[in-house]
């Protein structure tokens, strides 16, 4: 059975090898240049803790870094749609399951062997891809100091996503018995699972650390924050992000010593002109008078209020990686278990 499964997977394996070869070629060609640029930037500001040259280096290379991340994010979707969905569905469509089950092989073993071949290829391909991109982006990730920003594009988790996508595709193929709908279900399932885990499950892995920081009148502004999809909050004071390199900042709240949040009434009472003098118009330097009023306002508020920051420190990165890998692997096992039970009585 293993020889048949390997033979059937041959074309997929060549496609993956070609794709990985292309990525490896780009990575090997551009990585030395990146490393040189990073060390040059570092030399330019050796003793200082703050290094504008390094930040500029990270910013300049953001597009390339985004593209590299997208490759890693898209790979599991491709694996689910083109390896997972057809694995069983194409056999059911062509009727070839009736040919192979007429031989002396149990359908359960047939599925297990096919899954083993595709699963091994999935782990190898995504591990290699993730390793290549993680290594390539190393200088940029160091410079950007935001490891959680590229959490789903580096290290272990892409392997979990890809395995889950594969299982999703196989199970969808078994249920719908058609390749094309199975592909669509796979993509929807992967996106839904990623959103659910990122938004709701990942923050549960570890209780965040809490730190209180005074309001800095020089870097605190006014405006609204939020997410276009989930809604934009009301306008309020917006402190600059606290200086916690590589931390995952989960929330920033402005509260008084009793823990009561800053209300609009308090804010407008302390600073009657706030919000009325926008930027509003064309972008440009803010007039000195406006800047001074904002500064005084934050000082007045800062007498009674401070910001409370909840965050996950740099050191928990690998805990989150392992947990997320385990979570997606467990979901994969559940899907495969369901597929095996479903196969027994087609």
């Amino acid at each position: 059975m293993i020889r048949l499964a390997l033979r059937q997977f041959r074309a997929s394996a060549w496609t993956a090898a070609a794709g990985l070869g292309a990525v490896a070629a780009v990575v090997l060609a551009t990585r030395p240049h990146l490393a040189d640029a990073a060390s040059a930037a570092r030399r330019a500001c050796a003793p200082a803790a703050q290094c504008p040259a390094l930040s500029a280096f990270a910013l300049d290379n953001t597009p390339a870094r985004t593209v590299a991340g997208l490759v890693v994010i898209v790979a599991p979707a491709l694996i689910g749609a083109f390896w997972g969905a057809p694995l069983v569905a194409r056999e059911l469509e062509a009727g070839t399951h009736r040919l192979v089950w007429a031989q002396s092989v149990r359908p359960a073993r047939w599925l297990a062997t096919k899954l083993a071949v595709a699963g091994t290829a999935t782990v190898l391909a995504t591990a290699l891809l993730s390793a290549l991109v993680t290594w390539w982006a190393g200088p940029l990730d160091d410079a950007a100091a935001a490891v959680y920003g590229t959490f789903d594009q580096r290290d272990l988790v892409p392997i979990g996503y890809a395995l889950f996508a594969l299982a999703c595709g196989v199970t969808a193929g078994l249920v719908t018995r058609r390749t094309l709908p199975a592909m669509a279900v796979t993509l929807a399932g992967l996106v839904a699972a990623r959103i659910v885990v990122t938004e709701w499950l990942r923050p549960l892995v570890a209780a965040p650390r809490v730190v209180s920081v005074p309001l800095d009148p020089d870097t605190t502004g006014y405006g609204a924050g939020g997410n276009i999809l989930l809604g934009i909050g009301p306008s309020t004071l917006q402190p600059a992000p606290p200086d916690l390199p590589n931390a995952w900042i989960q929330s920033v709240h402005i509260v008084d010593s009793a823990g009561t949040p800053l209300t609009d009434q308090v804010l407008t009472a302390a600073c009657p002109t706030i919000g009325g003098e926008g930027p509003g118009g064309p972008a440009g330097p803010v007039p000195e008078a406006v800047r001074q009023r904002m500064h005084d306002c934050v000082v007045r508020i800062g007498e009674r209020y401070h910001q409370v920051v909840t965050y996950q420190p740099d050191g928990r990165y690998w805990t989150f990686q392992w947990w997320e890998l385990a979570l997606f692997t467990a979901a994969t096992a559940v899907l495969i278990g369901y597929a095996c039970r479903r196969l027994r009585r087609p």
Partner: protein
């Protein structure tokens, strides 16, 4: 008995595809299954080889369940339209499916001999074979296991008259020399007259007639009578 069914029934949602089907097939028998489209022939054959599980009743194949019989490699089965892997060559079908999945039963020499005799191009992908060649490939896979029971769902539908006659002769030879029992479905009453020792007429999900083949001259009248009565 090579194959026995007892009050076998299969229901798809609300519709009964087969009801109350009781048959016994002895060694060396060649059973021809005839009936109109949708009569339940394919359902019966798929129940025999374990591709479907019965709603009621029981099937015993070679003294066991269909699953164990299939795993033993003693049952050869060709599904309707003789499915094959379009991307695999004829040689790959014989080595990966035939030899690879039936290690204990596979007769590689017989398979190669049959492929040569029918001039099946070994290096051609199955997707580029003609319909008749594909059917012959599927039949080669089923026959080269030296099966004790051969189950064929319209095996001759895509063969030309000459190949059809040759295949039926081959089946008869297998049945008489090795005692293989054969159950095949067909639309062509002439095939029954030529090869079958028993006739089973199925219509509307029920067995209308199960009897030793009558005289070839009378066969067509008997079958049409039964089908006419059920209509």
């Amino acid at each position: 008995m090579i194959l026995e069914t007892e009050a076998l029934a299969k229901r798809y949602r609300r519709r009964w595809a087969l009801r109350d089907c009781t048959l016994a097939v002895p060694e060396g028998a060649i059973v021809g299954l005839v009936g109109p489209n949708g009569a339940g022939k394919t359902t019966l054959l798929q129940l025999i080889v374990g591709l479907l599980s019965p709603t009621a009743g029981a099937v015993r194949v070679l003294g066991g369940t269909p699953d164990t019989a299939m795993r033993s490699g003693r049952v050869g089965f060709v599904a309707q339209d003789a499915p094959t892997y379009a991307g695999l060559t004829v040689a790959e079908h014989l080595s990966l499916l035939g030899a690879g999945l039936n290690a204990r039963r596979w007769d590689a020499a017989a398979a190669r001999e049959r492929a040569d005799r029918l001039s099946l191009p070994l290096r051609q992908r199955a997707g580029r074979l003609s319909g008749g060649q594909r059917a012959q490939l599927a039949l080669t896979l089923a026959l080269s296991k030296r099966p004790d029971l051969l189950v064929l769902d319209e095996p001759v539908a895509s063969l030309d008259p000459l190949a059809r006659r040759a295949f039926l002769d081959e089946t008869v030879a297998a049945a008489t020399t090795t005692g293989t029992a054969v159950v095949l479905s067909t639309h062509l009453v002439a095939d029954l007259a030529h090869a079958c020792t028993h006739v089973v007429v199925v219509a509307g999900g029920r067995v209308r007639l199960a009897a030793p083949s009558p005289d070839p001259a009378e066969l067509e009248r008997v079958v049409l009578d039964e089908l006419g009565r059920s209509a």
